[in-house]
């Protein structure tokens, strides 16, 4: 007894740790054949895995993505599944952590041996996750990783499911401005940009094009993410007196900028915010509906869109989750589109394995609720976003003409209606 106590006390820990490792390891190597079999999978469920941020910083958008995936799965199963196979979504939480997201895709692909995977939320998590998918030959349709670094990896298995790379959100605004007759265009511009992978590049793209067209930059400021007080920055904007304000923003800072401009009683002739102003419910709540008139932004899906499957999507979403078309988060539509693309590949090729998906999606255009999508060799989509504007408390697409539902209002009316 004395002997065993000493053994436990002194060597015990080392042995316990080793034993735990060995047992877990044994389980790990023997679970080899617990998963998919090598035989043709007709009739077997089609398991699609994805890691989503259900907790942590990206949680709210992550949950919207989850709703989108699940909605698509239930819709497609109601119609018989994909190639006769029932779709099962295996969704796991990555707690908005890049360490966890790598482990999650490792587990999904190598432990649970899912058939396919979809991407996580946010470029920040997409980059490490896409590397894991690439290593094991999995296709990677992802609804939310559209920053330049994602495409800089030059992965042939990656497909960003939105009309264009995120940095191009501002380009549609630049297109529109430059399409106006020369005497109606703005002469001076100010740029307020959030230091964020998706915000400042958008505004910078616009600036480059504007300067080339002769629109003078009278003020530019890149501010850090923790900035809470915009009085100093917007005061400088007011002093510079630009005719167009281009905001490379996310949500909170867009709201703050608009509110500060209202307080400072400054009304530019044109105002564009890459994010924030494209939230159908949040924006009017935060800044006041009467202050939204004429503000522009960019978006892919919007309530009332007539893109492929949009009406079905909207109806089904409201039935499953309640609310109205205005409360649907874009991320849900983007996630839904991932599923639509899979269906299209299956319909076109009669197969639904990773290699087929990777080979097929680089050509042609694919209709989804976001419009018709197509991709270049590095996964960057080759379309454009829609330019949307607030009119009468509603967000309406005004450009390009093919999707426009209303004529653009300009110059921007004064604050308060």
């Amino acid at each position: 007894m004395h002997q065993s106590n000493r053994l436990w006390r002194r060597g015990g820990v080392a042995l316990v740790v080793a034993a735990m490792a060995l047992t877990l390891g044994a389980c790990a190597s023997s679970s080899n054949n617990a998963g998919a079999s090598a035989s043709p999978s007709a009739g077997k469920p089609l398991v699609i895995g994805a890691s989503i941020s259900l907790t942590g910083d990206f949680a709210d958008s992550g949950k919207a993505v989850k709703r989108g995936y699940e909605l698509w799965a239930s819709q497609v199963n109601a119609k018989g599944g994909v190639l006769g196979r029932k779709v099962t979504m295996k969704l796991v939480d990555d707690a908005s952590s890049p360490t966890q997201v790598v482990s999650n895709y490792q587990n999904l692909i190598n432990r649970d041996k899912v058939d396919l995977v979809f991407g996580p939320f946010s470029s920040l998590l997409t980059v490490p996750a896409s590397q894991v998918a690439k290593r094991y030959g999995y296709s990677f349709l992802e609804p939310a990783g559209g920053g330049p670094k994602v495409f800089a990896q030059k992965l042939d298995n990656l497909f960003f499911v939105q009309p264009a790379p995120v940095v191009k959100s501002g380009d549609v605004f630049a297109d529109w401005i430059l399409s106006l007759p020369a005497d109606q265009r703005p002469k001076t511009a100010a740029y307020t940009e959030l230091d964020d992978p998706f915000a400042s590049p958008i505004a910078e793209n616009v600036r480059v094009r504007f300067e080339a067209a002769g629109i003078k930059t009278v003020y530019k400021q890149i501010y850090p993410a923790e900035t809470q007080d915009f009085s100093a920055i917007m005061a400088k904007v007011v002093t510079a007196n630009p005719e167009v304000l281009v905001g490379g923003t996310q949500n909170e800072d867009a709201y703050a900028q608009v509110k500060t401009l209202v307080q400072l009683k400054f009304n530019p002739k044109f105002a564009f915010f890459s994010n924030g102003a494209n939230s159908p419910l949040e924006f009017p709540t935060k800044v006041g509906t009467q202050n939204t008139q004429g503000i522009m932004s960019a978006g892919d899906w919007f309530p009332g869109s007539t893109a492929a499957g949009s009406a079905d999507f909207t109806a089904a979403y409201i039935k499953a989750n309640g609310g109205s078309a205005d409360t649907i988060d874009n991320s849900s539509a983007e996630a839904y589109a991932c599923g639509q693309i899979l269906q299209a590949v299956a319909a076109k090729t009669g197969k639904i394995d990773n290699a087929t998906i990777i080979a097929t999606l680089h050509q042609g255009t694919w209709p989804t609720v976001l419009g018709d999508l197509s991709w270049g060799p590095d996964g960057a989509p080759s379309g454009t976003f829609n330019l949307i504007q607030w009119q009468g408390g509603k967000l309406l697409p005004v450009f390009p003409d093919a999707v426009a539902k209303a004529k653009a209002i300009y110059p921007k009316p004064n604050w308060g209606g």
Partner: protein, 348 residues
Amino acid sequence: MSIPSVVRGGVFVAVLVTLPMLGLQHWFLNLLVFVLMYATMSSSWNLVGGFAGYPSLGHAGFFGIGAYTLALIFKDQVLATGYEPFLLLPLVGLVGALVGWPIALISMRTRADVFAIVTITFLFVVQTLAFNLHSLTGGSQGTALPIPPFSAAGFELPFYYVMVGLLVFTMGLTFATMRSKLGLSLVSIRADEDKARGVGVRVIGVKVLAFSVSVGITSMVGAVWAYYESFIYPQFAVDPLITIAMVLMTFLGGRGTLWGPVLGAVILESGQQLLTYQLGAVQLYLIAYALIFLVIILLLPRGILPTIEDRLRLRRRRRRTAAAAALPGGPPSSNVADAASMLGRGAT
């Protein structure tokens, strides 16, 4: 005592080294890599927080420094063998230690709570710098590291073995420290700093050395992590939750012990990874972390290993006293045994 210790250590290392050869799955090796990272970091934190009694809340800052240093060294480079980053790890560790040196000098002149304030502030400074120094770090756009050119079949192995090496190095260092004058100095500082100074211990020098070594190791782990992820962002490379994890693991296993931090890391990291994966939308991980922490501090303040040891020692002493009471000479004095075990606490 030392022969069995070396044997135990040897068995541990042998197990770790041979583990991958059992044909383990990728996902399991992946898990082990992360567990080893946290085990190494907790062991290194232990040097400062466990032995010296100075709870540093800013180690994650050095993790980030290590990550970005490696990213800077290898910016825009294509790797030939893929082992180059590993070879340069000691350089990264040196950078971390050099940055830590003045921090320790400024902050360790004062008491533990001011030390904590300085270290936590340092953490936020590093994060802010990571966001603002675009040309160096890429700012919020993040920065890429070269993709490791290892084959998919054996991708995790180089990382695994490097981490085993780092862990063994850290534990060896801890072991050597515990047996040396340095270790005694640290423990005496923790027990009563003023008395230690009075007795002639070079208090500042010892503390600063412990801190520099500790953060140097943490920087190296940060660099390996960055290489493994291939892409780093400021808010993830310099994340207060990394510090909390290290501290919690050390506390759980037992501060000031050799095996405590490792045990804590094994339990918590694998638990956290697997639970987050299995339980899906468990929104409670932050609450769970905090509650576990509070429970440990309040109920099991010395951690698992020392508590187990105490219980066993108590039981042994009772048995010995009972046995000795039967002898004519009366119960022997147990003071020497107690004193020795207090110093060599956890010297398993």
